[in-house]
Structures are given as structure tokens and as C-alpha cells.
């Protein structure tokens, strides 16, 4: 790639293209959300520094028969494993397990 092809001034023209960097590779511990225990309070979603907890509109029926209209899912491509979600979950639905590749 030559100097001619770069936008001048070091400008980045594509918004949010940092998604090309898979920061999930930093992880030493991986958060796992137990959808059965989760009360959908969205506290983990609020606190995640990387915004990798996604609200997914998919029904989930718990083992006790409660039906939720959405689930919380973690994008492991980018999750750095900081553990804030696990620490803040009021019902301990998130556990941090060792990342095994």
C-alpha cells in the first residue's frame, strides 16, 4: 500500500472499524451467563466497558417455566474478560471461567 492511497491527514473514514480488532484474544477468564438464573435486569449490559453484552430478542423458557422475551448474550470476539459483569450481577448469574482455547 502506498502513501497515495491513504486518506490525507491520517483521517479514518470508516466509522467504528475497530471491530476488525478481536480484543477477545486478550481474555484469560471468560464470563458465562446462566440464562436460567438471569433476571434480565440489564445491569451487566449497562456496565460493560466494551459494549459486548447484547440484548437478543429471543424467547427463553426457564427450567421453572418463566418465559423471558429476550436473552443477554456476550460477544466473545471482543469480550476482554474484565469480570465487571460477573461482579455486579445481583443474582450471581454470571461466572468467570478459565479461558481454554
Amino acid at each position: 500500500m502506498s502513501w497515495r492511497e491513504l486518506p490525507i491527514g491520517g483521517m479514518i473514514l470508516e466509522p467504528g472499524n475497530s471491530i476488525a480488532r478481536r480484543t477477545g484474544e486478550w481474555r484469560v477468564l471468560r464470563p458465562i451467563i446462566d440464562q436460567d438464573v438471569c433476571t434480565r435486569c440489564l445491569i451487566c449490559w449497562m456496565y460493560c466497558p466494551d459494549g459486548v453484552i447484547k440484548v437478543v430478542d429471543m424467547q427463553y423458557r426457564t427450567s421453572k417455566g418463566r418465559v423471558w422475551s429476550f436473552m443477554l448474550e456476550i460477544d466473545y470476539d471482543y469480550c476482554k474478560g474484565c469480570g465487571i459483569c460477573a461482579e455486579e450481577c445481583p443474582v450471581n448469574a454470571i461466572s468467570m471461567v478459565e479461558e481454554v482455547k
Binding site: 467504528g16 475497530s18 480484543t23 466497558p49 460477544d75 474484565c82 465487571i84
Partner: protein
Amino acid sequence: MKNEIRIRGVRDLPREELFAPGHGLCAGCTAGTIIRHLLKISGKNTIIVNATGCVEVSTTLYPYTSWTVPWIHVAFENAAAVASGIEVALKVLARKGFIDSSKEIKVIALAGDGGTYDIGFQALSGMLERGHKVMYVLYDNEAYMNTGIQRSGGTPLHSWTTTTPIGTILRGKLQMKKPIADIIVAHRIPYVATANIAYPIDMDQKFAKGLSVEGPSFIHVLQPCPTGWRFDPRYGIKIGKLAIETAMWINWEALEGDFKVTIRVPRRKHVRHYLTLQGRFKGLREEEIEEIQKYVDLEVERINKLVGEEVIGPRID
């Protein structure tokens, strides 16, 4: 408040993420959380002016950017000056018909304690004096973190930093944390608030209010930093909460000079609960911890007197 977004709870927050992952902020860096919330409140019609610092270098390492709104960085000390230029340009260009005047584009200056308390103070004070309609968000991690944890005007008393080590003769930072938000209140701008990432709804309401006033606003957000404060990354929010529970940090707002504490603490904890969780306060002697406690007690007394009510209660231990 014209156009103020009403946030009553988490369900009022937009789902869309305007801050993309893949940035280089430390694992557990609560600045990432602050930015996510800030952009959810301000929306797509926002221009961010970022001073040099952790956020700037971690989120825009060429050729990658995590920003999906227009973003500009110029230097360390001039976020407020650049934001002033942008605010004025928007006005003139709309007046001359070069840009669509129907859309309100919000201008937000985003800087750390380095670029605000110290090197950035002149530009900030000038911007406030001129009354530009810019919301200045200070993410305060209490040291020059980006260059490797050196002390700033915002570093608290007795905190370790690389330039204020806790040694045998000199005991951490020897000066008090500069009361930056109080100084900003003295500038008589429409809205000043302190916030804490551990209390995101309160913070979001303050962002919304700051964006809605006619004139400058200043939101000072405590941003716990695992790397600089020396704690396990999972405790960022917990430490933020302890800051409030010990009154090391008080969440207040001043709307047109009307002062109000927004997070009351009926029974507060000894500062020890906050300090011992952080490596930057390791090795402090009992009398130094009590000295920190004394200044917190004085500040609590001052705040309660200002409000005219005991909004921050007595210590339980």
C-alpha cells in the same frame, strides 16, 4: 429543559451501541462504560472533541476507530478551544445556509483529568467565560494515566503515582485534589454536575440535562481505573460505589446555581473501605488514613450546610 431526553431507568436507554468494540482501553476500564452511555444520550448528531489521553489513544489507533460519530482530536490542552471553534462554526455555517439548520448537532468536549485540571484549564475557563453551548465531560481517573500514572491536579491526597511514590520521606501526593467542579460552578455556567460511573442512570440524567441547557455545561465523572488505582478489573463499579458510600465522592448538580445532592448517603462508611481495595493507597499509615477521613468529614459538613439538610449522613464506623 428543551429537548431533554428523559431517563428514568435502564429501559429508557437506547439499545444501539454508538461506540464500537475493538478499542484498546484496558480490560475493565470504566471510561468505556462512560462513553457508551454518553453516546446513547447524545445520539448520532454529536461531534466529539477529545483531548489527548487514554480514551483518545486507545480508541483511535490508526487505522482503526471505535467512534461512529464525528470525532476530532487536536492536542492535549485545547479540547475546549477546539470545541468553541466547532460550536461557532456550526452557528455561522447554518446561518449562511451551508449546513442544515434544522438539525441540532451537539458538541461535546471529552477530556481526562490531565487535559482539564492542569494543562487544559486555560482553554476550559475561556470557553466557559465565552458561554459556548458545549458540554464538557471530564472522565476523572485521578492521574495522567495515559503516560503511565503520573500525578495530576486531580490526584487525591496520599495517593501513590509514579511521580508521587509513597516512600519513607514523601508520602504519596502531598496536595489535596483540586476542587475542579467547584471552580466551574464559580464560572456561573447554566449546569455543573458531578457523576460516578457506578451510578449510570444518575450520570445519564446529568448528560441529558447538560445537553439541554442554553450555554456551557460541565459533567465531572469519577472513572475508576484498574491499571492506575491498582485493583482487579472486576471491581471498577464496586469501587465507584464505595466512593459514594464513603463520601470520598459526592454526586451533586448545580442547575442555574441551584445546588442539589442527587445521591444521598444516609449512613456513610469509613474511608478505609474505599482505600484498602486500591493498591495506590497501599502502605498508608493509620494517621494518614485518618487525615483523609478528616477532610472527607469536613467536606460532608460543608455540603450539608450548603444544601441546608443532612443529605450525607453520619459515619457508621
